[in-house]
Structures are given as C-alpha cells and as structure tokens.
C-alpha cells in the first residue's frame, strides 16, 4: 500500500527540519504507479497527480513531522473529491420515472435491473421491469426469472419487436397497472457499434427516459475511459453503476469513469444475489483503489 511505498522515501528524511521537494515528487511517482497498477486510466492518473502536486509541495507537507502521512491524506481527499463527495443518491421524480440501463456486454445490466427494482420497491416505489434486449439468447427469460425472484412484474414483447416500441408499450402497461417506475434493460453493446448506439439514441429520443445509467464492470482496465466517454458523448448518461465489487479488483475504473464523464456513480453491485446492490461510497472506494 501507499504507506509502505512511501517508507523508503521519507524514512531517510526523518529528523531533518525540511523535507525536500525531490522526496515529495518521488512520493507522487509512487502514487502514479499505485494508480496504474489499480487500473486507473493513464491520462486520468497523469492529470490527478499534476493536480495534487501543488498541494503536496505546500507547507503542510514540507514542514510536517510525518510528510508521508500528509501526502497520503492529500491523495485520499483528492480521490474522494473526484469520486463524488457524498454516497450516491438516485433522485427520482415524484411521478413517473423511466430508468434506462445501458452498457457493454456482460457488465451486469440484467441482474442490476432486478436489483435496482427490488431496492426501489423497498423504498416505496412501484417498479416494472421492461425487457428491451431482443438479441441475447434467453435474455428475456433471464429478466423474467430475476424479476420473479425480486417480486417485480416484468413486461416483454418477445424478440421481434423494436426496443423503442417495447419501452413505450412498457410505460403504457405501467400506467394501466398503477406502476410508477419503469426500468428498461437493454442489450449489451460496444460503444463503437454505430448501429447499436443508434438504437439507444432512438430509445432516448422516443421514450424520453428520466435517467440513463451506465453499468460498468469494476474489473475493466484502461478501456473504461473509452466506454464511459463514448456512452456519455453519444447518448448522454445521468449516472453510473459499478458492478462486481465483491471481486478483489482494485477498481481504478471508478476514477477513470468519473474523470471522463463527471457523472455520479450511484450504486455498487456487490454480488450475484438480488440484495447485493449498495449505495456507492467514495471514501471506501478511495481506500480500495489505493490498496
């Protein structure tokens, strides 16, 4: 961890009245290495380290009795600031909410849709799951099974219907059933697949979701920035959900996707069960990334 990485740098300097700038810069190089090993994007790492350099070269470090601790404190605080200072909050309108989940193949959208529905039902909302993935074998069946387990109704129109229409009919169905929150599961897609990106753009244009949430696998490496940037620029997202945080991945992707989109990370997927959806906690994520 950072503490042990810094030991070599600052130990030799204890007892001196002034810590050299050189030592601080060396410490920042260790921060850079730790970030890259934790899968934080290269450019995000560079910009982050530049940003904290000024603070790190300030009096609070150079005249400190424990400069290593001071640098760690600065890094930690800057990370929490970047990750979004308070825990994620999904703000839903009082009336009808339309939540669209998008993201790359296998990131956890279908499972997260059911988890989110269950969580919102527990908070007093009346959700409907809507099966917008008409491509993946047995995707609709998968949503039906997890929906059933979550105790949430599932709306589907089979695989021959345009997802735009499925979404709109889903909302009509919700209205008739007195349900106020439609959660639309969509097919996994590559951010560079123009046809598939056009599909979600069409859904957005016609169905007008109140929220578009990008679901990102927390084990993703440098590519996280590409994914998040393309979805945010090509579609516009309102927030993100980071999944599979029950793994031992350091999760530097969290920094990357925040850095490139500025959108909030709202939830953390922490397992395969339907209750495994937590609020996103920036402070816990920061500690985890630093290792």
């Amino acid at each position: 961890n950072l503490q042990s990485r810094f030991q070599g740098i600052f130990r030799s300097l204890t007892g001196k009245s002034r810590i050299s700038e050189k030592a601080v810069k060396e410490a920042l190089r260790e921060v850079r290495m730790a970030f890259l090993e934790a899968d934080v994007n290269f450019k995000a790492t560079k910009d982050f380290c530049k940003k904290i350099e000024t603070r790190a070269l300030g009096a609070e470090v150079l005249q400190s009795l424990s400069p290593g601790q001071q640098v760690i404190k600065i890094v930690h605080e800057a990370m929490i600031e970047l990750l979004g200072e308070k825990a994620g909050i999904l703000e839903l309108p009082a009336g009808e909410a339309r939540i669209m989940l998008v993201g790359l193949q296998g990131s956890g959208k279908t499972t997260t849709a059911a988890k989110l529905a269950k969580k919102l039902a527990g908070e007093g909302r009346k959700p409907l799951l809507c099966a917008g993935d008409i491509y993946r074998p047995a995707a609709i069946r998968q949503l039906e099974v997890v929906g059933e387990r979550a105790g949430i109704p599932v709306f589907q129109m089979g695989t021959d219907e345009d997802p735009v229409n499925i979404a709109k009919q889903g909302s009509k169905h919700a209205y008739r059933q007195g349900l106020d929150t439609v959660i639309l599961d969509t097919a996994g897609r590559l951010h560079i697949d123009n046809e598939m990106m056009e599909e979600v753009q069409r859904i957005k244009k016609s169905w007008k979701p109140t929220h578009i949430l990008l679901v990102v696998d927390s084990m993703v490496g440098q590519d996280a920035v590409n994914q998040a940037q393309h979805f945010n620029e090509g579609l516009g997202i309102s927030g993100m959900i980071l999944t599979k945080l029950d793994s031992d991945t350091r999760g530097g992707a969290a920094i990357s996707i925040r850095y490139v989109t500025g959108k909030p990370i709202l939830y953390a997927g922490t397992g395969e069960k339907l209750e495994d959806l937590d609020s996103f906690h920036p402070d816990r994520m920061a500690s985890r990334i630093l290792g």
């Binding site: 899968d39 993946r136 074998p137 047995a138 696998d217 084990m219 590519d223 793994s247 991945t249």
Partner: protein, 281 residues
C-alpha cells in the same frame, strides 16, 4: 498509435503510454521498455529516425512472450476430448461454447455440449439456444441441481454417444469465492474419474477489457482447478487485452482462441503476430 520523430526519451515515453493504455500493466511494460532500451543502445539507434525498427523490435519482444505453449487444443488419445470452460461472471463463456461447438462440427466432429451452469437465471436456456444454432446435442442440467451431478450425467452420456468432443459450460464465479472454486475442482475430479487424462483442456475465459485483475484470476483458477489455456473474448471492442502478456509470461498459459463478436462464427484461433500488431493500432 502515432509514433513519429526520432528515437528519444519523448518517443519512448509515448511508447510506454501506449503499452500501459493497452493494459500491458506496469511491471511488464517496464520490463519490455528496459529490454528495448538495451537494444537501442546495443544497435546504436539512439536519436535514429528508424521508427519501423523500433516498433518491429518491440513487437518481436512481445511475440517472444507469447510464443511458448501449445495454441492448439489437446486431443484425447482414446475417447472424447473433454474441454472445461471456466471464468468469472459475464466474460463470454456460454457464447464461446456455442461458437466452439459450431467450429468443431464444421470440422466433421461429433460434439456434445453440457449445460452445467445450474445457478444463473436462464443459463441453461441460453446454452440450449446455442445448441440449436450449432445443431449439436446438449446435456441439460436442471436449475438448482448440483453441477457435479450434471457433469457426471454428461460423462455417462459421452460413454454411450461417443462424441469426439465434449464442451462443458460452468457458472461464472469470482476467483475470490473459495467455495465456488471448490465446486469447480469437484467437477474436474468427476471428469478425470470417468475418463483418464480428462479434461484435456481447462480454459479460462478472459474479457479483453479486463485490467490487471486478470492476472489474479488466472493465478487463482490455475491453483484451484488447473488451467491449460485461455480464451480472450470481446476483442472486437477497443480494448487490446494486453494483460495476457503478463498472464502468459508468469503462468505459461497460451491463448487458444479469441472472440471477435456475438455471432456463431466470431471465434478465431489466436495469432500472436496479429495480436501484437493490433496492440499498436
């Protein structure tokens, strides 16, 4: 990736950035850059404008890292060749099996696939659709059944049907879940008990966009159920899959196939030359 100018520190920094951005990882990148710098000194290429020499040299260093190990699938001397497909959640195991089944069938082989993911919602239905697409027989588990019993039933079926190849789908499982890894080694033991020398391959499926955690995944699966190779999926995205350099170097695991899409034909044998060239594209 645009490299231009002369071979100086700025260019080498750009090269280092390209490698890290391709998920090659710090340790492997530094090792490659150090060897590259040695070669630059040795062949007196400092400040030379011979960029082609530079990229060719780096690519050959990377190819050397990928050359060892057998990239072909092991075939059983007697009885069916049994391939066990494992990996963490959502990486593309079930889809890869559908593609492999079609490929083996087109090679004139009798294929049997096994739906041993009895845990995840609609996993069995998903593989069943692939068995219809590939037109191969399938052994179905029932949801909630012990996956080892499904594997056992599949081994009995294989003794009767005598297929050339058996490919077994397993539930996604995080390498951090010891009980799930134990479940997997139990499945592997059932296979080797029924057929000597089986499974001929235990392949870890890795998503090309995975970061450094892929190394931990490979290490842990290798230790607990043994691995003979990798399948690298979703190479049709923007991720380069550079982490397999470290997996190959540290654990000797060769990539046997890459997934390049969601269609039944989107599986290709791994080509180290194409892979290293694409890393720089």
């Amino acid at each position: 990736f645009r490299l231009r100018g002369k071979i100086d520190d700025d260019l080498l920094d750009d090269l280092e950035e390209a490698l890290i951005s391709a998920d090659v990882g710090m340790e492997t990148t530094l090792a490659l850059m150090e060897e590259l710098r040695n070669r630059i000194r040795r062949e007196k290429k400092t400040n030379s404008t011979d960029i082609n020499w530079l990229t060719d040299t780096l690519q050959s260093l990377m190819r050397d890292m990928l050359e060892q190990g057998d990239r072909t699938l092991k075939v059983a001397e007697v009885g069916p060749s049994i391939y066990l497909i494992v990996g963490v959640n959502g990486v593309g195991k079930t889809t890869a099996i559908g593609k492999m089944a079609a490929r083996f069938k087109s090679e004139g082989k009798q294929v049997l696939i096994v739906a041993a993911d009895t845990f995840r919602a609609a996993a069995i239905e998903q593989l069943e659709i692939w068995s219809k697409r590939a037109d191969v027989p399938i052994v179905l588990g029932s949801e909630g059944a012990d996956p080892s019993s499904v594997v056992y039933n599949a081994m009995s079926a294989a003794k009767t049907q005598k297929p050339d190849v058996v490919v077994i789908d397993t539930a996604g499982r995080l390498h951090t879940k010891t009980n799930l890894l134990q479940e997997l080694s139990k499945m592997s033991r059932v296979i080797s008990r029924e057929f000597d020398g089986a499974p001929q391959e235990t392949l870890l499926v890795l998503d090309a966009s995975t970061g450094q955690n892929a190394i931990t995944q490979a290490k842990t699966f290798l230790q607990s159920c043994g691995l003979t190779g990798l399948i690298l999926t979703k190479m049709d995205g923007t991720a380069k899959g550079g982490v397999i350099l470290a997996v190959h170097k540290q654990l000797g695991l060769p990539v046997k196939f890459i997934g390049v899409g969601e269609g039944i034909d989107d599986l290709e044998p791994f080509d180290p030359d194409a892979f290293t060239r694409a890393l720089f594209a």
